[in-house]
């Protein structure tokens, strides 16, 4: 088992190195660089920037050096000092810029994830056990609606309802008086009272999807012979269902749980833009548009790291959950 984890860790490092390099190449692919954005912005304001000043800017940002030198300078900082570099557009370090936002994104995403699980598993299990009952049809109906309605649309509707009927301040994660305040109990409560709207919005599609998956997985297991064996043993119905088919039906879920991790900080971009939430998605979008390369590179690096860690965690979780996988790991 330890050998397996060690081998996976080595591959993770290689994968991340490759991803960071490719990311850098991709950022460099479009013509121009950050100075192009600066010039364009200046021209939009009717100003003209002399060539000497542009050259100065390029030197300042290190954009005049060869591509490989830029890449290795950046990656050396990341690996050796944990320094993600400077954001050109914001003129501050990437770490200070995204730290708070990544945290809020994770809070929002983890909260929506728990919301999704808490709602979807019981409903999915109920739907399968009472297949073709009124409750099952209702769950399926709501589920399809949940999957079909785009999130931004739901966000707009929820904002309207929140504003019209509950008098809540629309958008954002904080009321105006707390937005720039330091963290205290009041701010935390304010965050919680704002958080439920994006949680519901972000969670609805996921809930709908997971209900369908749970129901389908469980229906596959429900009539297998081992369930009949358990019933023949004299186990009470609910106990045997939870111990045998429900348990089996969760295996596919464990193999995909790792994919949720990167979604934790980037999944809610569109909703965040619509509801102007101070999370990381809108920041990434802006950075890509203005070729703010260290900011984009760092974002992608963080996302990729979470992806590979998530994949590994889900493999480990599946091994813990399913002995058929576990024994294969132990052999080598």
């Amino acid at each position: 088992m330890l050998r397996f984890v060690a081998r996976r860790l080595v591959w993770m490092v290689i994968t991340l190195a490759a991803i960071s390099f490719v990311t850098f190449v991709v950022i460099k692919l479009p013509p121009g660089d950050y100075t192009t954005t600066v010039i364009a912005n200046a021209e939009a304001r009717g100003q003209d920037i002399p060539d000497s000043q542009i050259a100065e800017l390029k030197r300042h940002y290190g954009l005049d050096k060869p591509f490989l030198v830029q890449y290795f300078t950046w990656i050396k900082g990341v690996v050796l000092h944990g320094d993600l570099g400077q954001s050109f557009a914001w003129n501050q370090s990437v770490a200070s810029l995204i730290g708070n936002r990544v945290l809020l994104s994770m809070v929002l995403s983890i909260a929506s994830l728990l919301f999704v699980w808490a709602i979807a598993f019981p409903i999915g299990i109920y739907s399968a056990l009472k297949q073709y009952s009124g409750g099952d049809y209702l769950a399926s109906f709501l589920g399809f609606i949940g999957m079909a309605v785009p999130e931004f649309m739901l966000a707009l509707v929820m904002m309207y309802i929140g504003f019209r009927y509950f008098g809540q301040s629309v958008g954002g994660l904080f009321s105006p008086e707390y937005a720039d305040a330091a963290w205290n109990l009041g701010k935390l409560l304010d965050l919680i009272s704002h958080l439920w709207v994006p949680i519901v919005v972000v969670g609805v599609a996921g809930t709908a999807g997971l209900i369908r998956i749970t129901r389908a997985n469980l229906l596959d297991e429900l009539h297998k012979p081992y369930v009949a064996t358990a019933r023949a043993k004299g186990l009470p119905e609910w106990k045997l269902l939870l111990k045998y088919p429900v348990r089996m039906s969760l295996s596919p879920f464990f193999s995909t749980v790792g994919w949720l991790l990167p979604g934790l900080i980037s999944g809610e971009t569109i909703v965040s833009v619509v509801m102007s939430l101070p999370t990381s998605g809108p920041l990434l979008l802006g950075a890509v548009k203005s070729q703010d390369m260290y900011l984009v590179g760092s974002f992608v690096l963080i996302l990729s790291t979470l992806t590979v860690i998530g994949t590994m965690l889900s493999d480990l979780a599946l091994a813990w959950w399913d002995p058929r996988i576990r024994t294969r790991f132990q052999k080598g």
Binding site: P225, Y226, A232, K233, T327
Partner: protein
């Protein structure tokens, strides 16, 4: 002598959208104490459904629509328990403690994500007030008894780590762990190779000697029935057409259907000129049962105006109960 279990006029129907399939339609048979009853018949004659109906294990769309299943107590002259009328709780007590079952597919009928020990211990602790350690000791003892090598280690194995024959042995160990009075074995050797099949049948006979339980063996294989059965019940189209001592039924069958079945089995010493005779015709479509005697369209002794009109009742001829219009007149 009082039988252990008596099935009277059992009817289990499949209520499908195209109509009702009367899979079991008036089955009556009795299981003698401490002996082996083999229930034989072609595929689709309703033998498995009969077996499952005894413990009320049939699932939708199948439904038990009538009959009695009487389980007699060991003490003579006590009122039998009708399993079809029993409350769920009482039925669960009977399951495994009085009547246990072994199914056809040993791989599918054990849970793959629980150890064999866990599944045996669960059954023991469900029906007997014993501690974990005592139940585990019982599991190890049973695994040893069914001939699984190194049972102390195997008790913690998962079913997928065992071969097919070993899995079926583990299943038998589990079935006998609560010392049932009746073991229902539904095609227990069909999925196994011939050598393993012979070993499993020997094992069942040894265990019967040791524990003194009755066995109801469901099989389509007359050879298997001849090898282990004390009594044989022959089923055709959802009813028992003949039941009697194995030696009598197999060597001197009364019902034309049984006669045809016995003729269709290859025997040693058969010469080239003695061709095997298949049962004439085919099984009629499930939605329409023939009128009168259900076997009459395929019967060599068909009597027009009689067999297609009158439903035969069971009569005793020599030691055999047979439902055929050829018999009865003189005995009645």
């Amino acid at each position: 002598m009082q039988p252990l279990l008596e099935v009277r006029e059992l009817r289990t129907h499949f209520e499908l959208s195209d109509g009702v399939v009367k899979a079991v339609d008036g089955v009556s048979l009795s299981v003698p104490r401490g002996r082996t009853l083999a229930v034989v018949g072609e595929s689709g004659c309703g033998k498995s459904v009969t077996a499952r109906s005894i413990l009320r294990l049939v699932e939708k769309p199948a439904r038990i629509v009538g009959g009695e299943i009487l389980l007699y107590d060991d003490a003579p002259d006590t009122k039998p328990l009708d399993l079809l009328a029993a409350k769920d709780k009482r039925l669960r007590q009977v399951r495994w403690a009085d009547i246990a079952m072994v199914f056809q597919e040993p791989m599918a009928s054990l849970s793959l994500v629980h150890t064999i020990g866990d599944q045996i211990i669960e059954a023991v602790r469900l029906h007997e007030n014993v501690g974990k350690q005592a139940a585990r000791d019982r599991a190890i003892e049973m695994l040893d008894r069914v001939g699984i090598p190194d049972p102390k280690r195997r008790v913690d194995s998962y079913p997928f780590q065992l071969s097919g024959g070993m899995r079926q042995r583990a299943m038998i160990a589990m079935a006998l762990s609560c010392r049932p009075r009746l073991l229902i074995a539904d095609e227990p050797t069909t999925a196994l190779d011939v050598t393993t099949q012979a070993q499993i049948l020997d094992l069942l006979q040894d265990l019967q000697q040791e524990f003194g339980m009755a066995i109801m063996l469901i099989t389509h294989d007359l050879g298997v029935a001849a090898q282990v059965a004390d009594e044989v019940a022959v089923m055709y189209l959802g009813e028992v057409v003949e039941q009697g001592p194995a030696s009598a039924v197999l060597s001197n069958p009364k019902h034309p259907y049984t006669q045809a079945l016995v003729r269709s089995v290859p025997r040693l010493g058969l010469r080239g000129k003695d061709r095997l005779v298949a049962v004439r015709g085919t099984v009629p479509p499930p939605y329409e049962r023939p009128t009168g005697c259900r076997f009459h369209p395929r019967c060599d002794s068909f009597m027009a105006g009689k067999c297609d009109v009158t439903v035969p009742v069971r009569v005793r001829s020599d030691e055999i109960d047979v439902a055929c219009l050829l018999y009865g007149e003189e005995e009645r």
